[in-house]
Symmetry: C2
Subunit: 436 residues, 2 copies
């Protein structure tokens, strides 16, 4: 018989289209990697003697958070240069350090990132970086779910471009559906302003050949949009449309600077937007038009971006920012209600990366979920627990994390990663970068 | 001999005007309620045998956070109505419930708020509410520092107005400098739009008579500013100036909608602004012109506002929002750097309420400080700990809190308050409000 976990007397976020209320009090049953039942009472068929039991009475259960844009290894540069003008920050701080990154550094930085993400309730993340085999190995071992891709900057010779493309393709082939399906892969030319059109077209062709999704940075800053117009006579959306990018299932990160027409084009091609509010604010890029995108039917998900421009990987923080800033900037207090912010941070993120069976606490879904201890001062009284998760909880409140049915974080401790070793290796890797 | 505490091998935030670096590694010595030494080495005169010692080697020490605007008892209404239009929220949700508040409710709600604040690193808070004797008692017993005032709405008969004024004055007299000086008092007509001019003038006169500071809500929404122009022919700043409000040491909450001329008037009278970013965003009031206020020399501090419009009392959250949103909205990534955000949340808050010896880790200052465990994934590597406190830490990372030299929170547990009882009483109080 399948290994079974019964959670008794918990409160469960219900964010599906058919849900009458956002919180259900009752029972959840997990068998192997799947949720098989959520309901107010426990049907007798599940009450087997040998099932593992969990007391949910002080816990709120919600889908694991899905972080749809980031560069995990950049945790090594957290706090190394803040509050600076973008070009100065990139040229004097980030790029010189990133150029030194070895496999070992990426492994250390990614492990630190994955540990932080798991402990703060993220069960799936998207990573676009270099040395991706190292990233995939960390994901395989830690138990997290991930969509991975080698991000390729094309400001180099055609020969080097070709190498990067091959590397990206090889990585995508090697790791797609690895780790019991927890790892999927995509292709990712870095951005229209860092990739010549012909280079982007090669990625589009490869995505067709391998049937993979495409991801890229787009329209993060106004300057980059203007540069695109100067260089190619088109704004980035029309430019990518022309290069065939949107002929593939695809999603873009940032999309801060969009016209109404561009929003329509994204909706038409079903191109998703990974919103990264903290990073966009910190780098002074602006505030993305999220309510307008959602009204137009564009799928929106949430990302942290790299830790160097955030500076944390706590998706609770992004969820709260999303619920707050669009109200303040639009003047509409009903913009992005709490339950919608939670959907954006969970099920919408899963759908964005084509995980149709992740992101809801419903029978048939993957058992990717987290539990928060709600008997804490800042989560009382228990008026509206979804609201509390969005407006008052932090990732530090997460007590339990399950991915693919496996208990990964228990009482705040990560069971699959050696925290002390990871902390030490990250500190040593950073010292090494400073002295090399 | 005075009771002495020596903290060894800690890292200490140094935010004073003379500080060469924002973090100092070394020693801090506390005697009774004062910091007597902070430095890289420990002078032999402090190395007494009977001193209490604390190992600071995994901790970052910073001044306790100062929350300069709030309504503590409103924790009882946390999550009771979110994402609504302001008037609907006030008229259908907040006011009917608040009208039922008894002494006991205010005691329960304030205790929950103070517990949350202490555990998340706030050592001083400003409270404007009703049933203030209950609030003062909670402060006295919990060990927190507070500036308290009876907030008076003047939309009532002159007789009731007079009662409220007397109540406010009596409270201010009874509690000023109570609890070993931890409690100070002020006077607070609620807002220009809720208080007739003559009522505000009476508060101004009473503040002169008793030599007290004044505090009020001002220009939170554009609608309220326009109403002021309609009713009195003046925008709120000119209106309050005319009523003599600024002839007293005073500070206002919100100040979201200000003209350049109004900013100049606030600077001229040295009127401070308590910025409440989360509340202003959540209620869709807008984004205050904080960089402009600071450039004009207006003192700026930080507040959470009540938990019903936030919905937490974690000042780390406000500190991060302040460092993030003004960059994103102004387009200037150097706006409100991390160290400045920390000053606004600590020493500037203390100065705002005339506590000249609170808010810095320096010899001679009151021993109001907190310690954060920095050996955590989201606070590594140790590049810039002030940046980490602002951009990555949360109040849930606070391990120790000292107020007036007393150890109030130890390893995350509050030593002065009975957490379980407070949680139960808050839950019961909320149930009572629902059913009465």
């Amino acid at each position: 018989m399948a290994k079974r976990l019964i959670i008794r007397n918990g409160r469960f976020a219900q964010l599906g289209a058919d849900s009458k209320q956002t919180t259900l009090q009752g029972f959840m049953v997990v068998e192997e990697d799947r949720i098989v039942y959520v309901g107010e009472t426990l049907p007798s068929e599940y009450a087997a003697d040998d099932a593992e039991e969990m007391d949910g009475s002080r816990l709120f259960f919600m889908p694991g958070l899905v972080n749809t844009h980031g560069h995990a290894a950049m945790t090594l540069l957290r706090g190394y240069g803040d509050d600076m003008v973008l070009q100065e920050w990139l040229q004097n701080k980030m790029w010189p350090m990133e150029a030194k990154f070895t496999d070992q550094d990426v492994c250390a930085g990614t492990a630190l990132a994955v540990l932080e993400m798991l402990k703060t309730g993220t069960t799936t993340f998207v990573d676009m970086y270099d040395h991706m085999n190292e990233v995939a190995k960390v994901c395989e071992q830690s138990g997290i779910r991930a969509a991975l891709m080698r991000g390729a900057i094309g400001l180099c010779s055609e020969e080097v471009q070709q190498q990067k493309l091959q590397e990206a393709v090889q990585f995508a082939k090697d790791w797609n559906h690895a780790a019991n399906g927890r790892i999927t892969t995509m292709l990712a030319p870095h951005a229209p302003y860092t990739c010549p059109p012909a280079f982007i077209e090669k990625f589009v062709q490869a995505a067709h050949d391998l049937d993979l999704m495409l991801h890229t940075h787009m329209s993060e800053t106004e300057a980059e949009v203007q540069q695109n117009v100067t260089d190619y006579g088109l704004r980035p959306v029309a430019h990518l449309e022309k290069l065939g990018f949107f002929s593939r299932p695809s999603f873009v990160a940032h999309a801060v600077h969009l016209t109404d027409e561009e929003i329509e084009v994204l909706a038409k091609y079903n191109v998703g937007v990974s919103h990264n509010p903290a990073s966009n604010l910190k780098l002074a890029s602006g505030v993305a038009r999220i309510p307008d995108l959602m009204r137009a039917g564009v799928q929106v998900s949430l990302g942290t971006d790299g830790a160097a421009s955030n500076n944390n990987l706590d998706m609770f923080d992004e969820m709260r920012l999303t619920a707050l800033i669009h109200k303040g900037v639009s003047g509409d207090p009903t913009a992005v209600p709490a339950a919608e912010a939670m959907r954006i941070a969970t099920v919408n993120g899963a759908k964005m990366i084509q995980l149709q069976d992740v992101g809801l606490l419903e029978a048939g879904m993957k058992a990717d979920f987290i539990a928060i201890n709600i008997d804490q001062p800042h989560l009382l009284p228990h008026t509206d627990l979804v609201s509390h998760m969005v407006y008052s909880a932090t990732g530090r409140d997460v007590a339990h994390v399950f991915v693919d049915g496996k208990h990964i974080v228990k009482d705040g401790q990560c069971l699959t990663m050696d925290e002390e070793r990871i902390r030490d290796e990250a500190a040593r890797a950073f010292e090494g970068l400073l002295t090399r």
